[in-house]
Subunit: 111 residues, 2 copies
DNA sequence: GCGCACACATCGATAAACTATGCTTCTTCC
DNA sequence: GGAAGAAGCATAGTTTATCGATGTGTGCGC
């Protein structure tokens, strides 16, 4: 996997986190690795961004989480998506598709 | 054109502005309208975001501009893209495509 | 025993967008 | 002639989110 050059566009991390949790519960560190893996090397998730985002989403009720054990046997805080979180994911997904199509429209209209 | 619901993702405005200026010089207000038009109603460009962005890009040497006259006969500051600006556009465009593909990859891998 | 991957967390700096506001000019419509 | 509104610029203050750095501790392999 090539080194990511893009980092993140602010405002997209929520969608990414919620997306991986749609498939099932996972702990923070694994969420980051899952995003980076599925992002094809174009996305880097810094820990200084991830953990505040997880707290934020939990405070908003879109995620729930509690202490558990990771696959490698270490203590880890496991998160899963809630009902409101699924609804938020659907909305964020729609907005992303709209916005991305808009940007592509602008770029291809003039370039 | 439906009311935009997305506004902007931080970090994308530079690419959008540079894109419309690739086609030729334009003044600020017209740049905003051009983006919104080509964005298919998914993108809104607020003046409080646009003018600081134009100053920024001008300060960075990616844009040049001077006072002139708009199509409707009013005084307006007309901007055009510079050599470094074109190079920056190419780079930003590449990064955007990479990033957007990465997000789509994450979303479709788990949802 | 040493180093590294795993796993959490927070602080401070930075950057960018949004809201609100204010100014001028030109056109349109009554 | 006057009012309203679109065209056009600009900035100050607030907010929000990412990032880099830093710190703690555990388990595994060599």
């Amino acid at each position: 996997m090539p080194a990511p050059t893009t980092a993140l566009l602010p405002g997209t991390l929520d969608l990414l986190v919620l997306s991986v949790l749609m498939a099932g519960p996972l702990h923070g560190y694994a969420i980051a690795r899952a995003i980076e893996g599925a992002g094809g090397g174009a996305i880097a998730v810094e820990e200084g961004s991830l953990y505040p985002a997880l707290s934020r989403l939990r405070r908003q009720g879109q995620l729930a989480g509690e202490w558990g054990i990771s696959a490698s046997g270490r203590r880890a805080r496991v998160y899963w998506i809630t009902g409101p979180g699924r609804r938020h994911w659907a909305q964020q997904h729609k907005l992303w598709l709209r916005f991305a199509a808009g940007v592509d429209g602008v770029v291809s209209a003039f370039a």
